[in-house]
Amino acid sequence: MSTISRDEVARVAALARIDLAPDEVDRLAGELDVIVDAIAQVSEVATPDVPATSHPLPLTNVYRDDVPAEPLPVADVMAGAPASEDGRFLVPQILGEE
C-alpha cells in the first residue's frame, strides 16, 4: 500500500530545490513509504499517557547569557562567498523583486 504518491515526492522535491529524475521520484516514493509505515507502527504503540515530544533529551530551558562574544572575522565570513562586493555577499537577482 503506497501512501506517498509520486506527485507528493515531486512537489516536496521542488520545494526543497532538489532536481529529481523520474526514476528517482519512483524509487523515493517507495522508500518514503517504508519510513512512513515504520513511523505509523510507532504511533500505534504510543498511548495518550506518553507525551508527544520533539526531542529525545530530557532538557528544557537551556539559555545563554546575553553577553557578546567575538564575531567571526570578516575575512573568514567572506571566504565562503562565491562572489562579493563591498564586504557583502553578491547573489543573482532575486526574481519577483523590483
Binding site: R11, V12, A14, L15, A16, R17, S54, H55, L57, L59, T60, N61, V62, Y63, R64, D65, D66, V67, P68, A69, P71, L72, V74, V77, M78, G80, E85, D86, G87, R88, F89, L90, V91, P92, Q93, I94, G96, E97, E98
Partner: protein, 500 residues
C-alpha cells in the same frame, strides 16, 4: 509599476463594505546579542561584521537561546494580557531566500510563547477599542538585501543583490491579532492606534528602542472587505512592511478603496501579499499565495523546549512597569488636564518632557503652556522633536518659576525663552543679562502713569466721570512706556489711586 488602478472613494467604500483588519507586528528586541548566538547587535555596523557560524548557517553550528530574549518575549506577552505557555518550542520555517542563510528561519509555529491576549487601544477621540491578540511568538530576523542594477548606471541587465547578515538572527517577537472586526470606517485609525500603542508598550517595557524609522518595528497589514458585518470574512490581502504609524493608516485606507473597486466590478480580490509604496501611498501586487507558501514547518531539533516556570513568569509580571495607557491616565489626573488637552500632549509626544518639567518644579499648567505653545511652534518651524530643542525641562521649570513669582510676566518670559533658545544661558541669566525683570518699584511706574495721564486728558475726564473703560488704554500706554516690564496689576492699582 502597473497602470492606474480603479479606486472607490473611502467614505463611499465603507458605506457599502465592512472592513476587517488583521495586523502582524514584528519588533526587534534590544538585546545585546542575537537570538541564537553571541554576535553583538549594533545598528549601523560595517557589513557582515556581526556574524557567527550560527547566524551564517554554517554546517555544524548549533544555536543556543538568548535567555534575555525569552524574558523580553514574556514581558511583551504579559503586557498584552496573554497566557504564557507552560512549555513551547521552536520550529523551522523552510524557504529559500538569500537573506536567510540557513534556508530556514527559526521561529515558533504551533507552540507560541504567548497567546490569547488583548490590548485596549485609545482612539483619537478617547474611545477605547479592544484588539484581541491571537499570539506572540519568538523568531529571528533575516539579513538585509540591497538590490543593485538597472538604473544605477551599471551594465544593462547586470542586476544583482548584495547581502549583509548583520541583521540575520536578531531576536524578533511577532505579535498577531485576531481579525479586528467592528471598527467600520475607523479601521485605518484603529490600525494606526494599535501599532502606536504597541510601540509605546515596547518602550515602556524597555525591550526595544522601537524606532520605526530604523525598522525596529514593522507591521504587516491584512485587510478584507465584506458586504455586511454578519457576512463571512472576505478574501484578504497582506500589505508587508508598513513602517510608520501614518503609513499603517494610509495602507488600510488604500486597500479599502482598491478592494471596494474590485468587488464593485464583480471581480474577486486575490489573496496575495502586496508591497507598500511610501512615496505614492499605494500598494502593488507582490507574491500570490501558492505552493511557495508551503513552509514545511517542523520542530527545531537543535533546540530544547522553553518551559518558563510559573515562578519566573510571576516574578516578571511583578516587575512590569506601569503601562503607557495607565500612566497617561494617572498623569492626566495629577496634572488636571482636560481630556482634549491630554490627547494633544500625547499626540505631540510631549508626555515625558512635561513630566520632567513638572518634576523640575513647574506647575503642570505652565509646563503645558510652554511645551505645547511657544516651543511646539518653534519645533515645527525648525523641524525638530521637542526633546531636540536647545532648552531643557529644568530651564522651562525655572522660566515658569520666574513668572509665578511675579519677577517676569508672560511677555517678558517669551523674550527670556528666546534668549535661552539662542544659547544665552538659563532663564535666570537671560532675565538679568537682558534686564527683563518686571518693574515693581512704584517710582518709575508713577512717572510713566503721570506721563500717560497728562498725555490723554480726555480719557482722564471720562474715567473721573465714572466710565472705567479707558483705564485699559492708560495701562497700555504705561506698559508701552516701560517696554512691557511693568506689572500690569500694580499699574492698575496705581492708576486708580491717582484718579481717586
Amino acid at each position: 509599476m502597473s497602470a492606474a488602478v480603479d479606486l472607490v472613494g473611502y467614505d463611499e467604500a465603507v458605506r457599502r463594505y465592512d472592513p476587517v483588519i488583521g495586523i502582524e507586528v514584528h519588533v526587534e528586541l534590544g538585546t545585546r546579542t542575537k537570538m541564537f548566538c553571541a554576535a553583538e547587535v549594533e545598528f549601523g555596523g560595517e557589513p557582515n561584521t556581526q556574524t557567527t557560524p550560527v547566524s551564517l548557517g554554517l554546517p555544524g553550528a548549533l544555536p543556543v537561546v538568548n535567555g534575555k530574549a525569552v524574558e523580553s518575549a514574556i514581558k511583551i506577552g504579559l503586557a498584552l494580557n496573554c497566557q504564557i505557555a507552560e512549555s513551547c518550542r521552536f520550529a523551522r520555517k523552510n524557504y529559500f531566500y538569500p537573506d536567510v542563510p540557513k534556508n530556514f528561519q527559526t521561529s515558533q509555529y504551533d507552540e507560541p510563547i504567548a497567546f490569547d491576549g488583548y490590548l485596549d487601544v485609545e482612539l483619537d477621540d478617547g474611545e477605547i477599542f479592544r484588539v484581541e491578540i491571537e499570539r506572540a511568538h519568538m523568531e529571528e530576523d533575516a539579513g538585509k538585501n540591497t538590490h543593485v542594477g538597472g538604473s544605477g548606471g551599471r551594465i544593462h541587465g547586470a542586476a544583482y543583490s548584495l547581502v549583509d547578515y548583520n541583521r540575520a538572527g536578531i531576536p524578533l517577537v511577532e505579535i498577531v491579532t485576531r481579525p479586528i472586526e467592528g471598527a467600520g470606517a475607523r479601521a485605518p485609525e484603529v490600525a494606526r492606534a494599535y501599532v502606536r500603542a504597541l510601540r509605546d508598550i515596547f518602550r515602556a517595557l524597555d525591550v526595544s528602542e522601537a524606532r520605526m524609522e530604523r525598522g525596529n518595528v514593522r507591521a504587516d497589514v491584512n485587510l478584507s472587505l465584506r458586504a455586511t458585518p454578519d457576512a463571512p470574512l472576505g478574501t484578504r490581502t497582506e500589505t508587508k512592511n508598513v513602517n510608520s504609524f501614518r503609513s499603517v493608516e494610509r495602507a488600510v485606507r488604500y486597500e479599502v478603496s482598491r478592494q471596494a473597486a474590485v468587488l464593485d466590478g464583480a471581480g474577486t480580490v486575490i489573496q496575495e501579499t502586496r508591497h507598500w509604496h511610501e512615496d505614492t501611498g499605494i500598494t502593488t501586487s507582490g507574491r500570490v499565495k501558492s505552493d511557495a507558501e508551503d513552509y514545511r514547518y517542523f520542530p527545531e531539533p537543535d533546540l530544547v523546549p522553553v518551559a518558563p516556570s510559573r515562578a519566573w513568569v510571576e516574578e516578571i509580571r511583578a516587575s512590569l512597569p506601569e503601562m503607557p495607557a495607565d500612566r497617561r491616565r494617572r498623569l492626566q489626573g495629577e496634572w488636571g488636564y482636560a481630556d482634549a488637552e491630554m490627547r494633544d500632549v500625547v499626540n505631540a509626544g510631549a508626555v515625558e518632557i512635561i513630566e520632567a518639567t513638572v518634576a523640575a518644579g513647574s506647575s503642570a499648567a505652565g509646563a503645558r503652556k510652554w511645551w505645547m505653545g511657544e516651543l511646539a511652534r518653534k519645533a515645527k518651524t525648525d523641524e525638530l522633536e521637542l526633546a531636540d530643542l536647545p532648552v531643557t525641562p529644568e530651564q522651562i521649570a525655572q522660566l515658569q518659576g520666574l513668572v509665578d513669582s511675579g519677577r517676569i510676566n508672560d511677555k517678558l518670559a517669551r523674550q527670556a525663552l528666546e534668549g535661552v533658545l539662542a544659547g544665552e544661558g538659563d532663564p535666570e541669566q537671560v532675565v538679568v543679562a537682558r534686564g527683563l525683570e518686571v518693574v515693581s518699584d512704584d517710582g518709575p511706574l508713577l512717572e510713566a502713569i503721570d506721563a500717560a495721564l497728562v498725555a490723554q486728558p480726555d480719557l482722564v475726564e471720562k474715567i473721573k466721570g465714572g466710565n472705567m473703560g479707558p483705564v485699559g488704554a492708560i495701562i497700555g500706554a504705561v506698559m508701552k512706556a516701560t517696554r512691557g516690564q511693568a506689572d500690569a496689576g500694580r499699574v492698575r492699582e496705581l492708576v486708580m489711586e491717582r484718579l481717586g
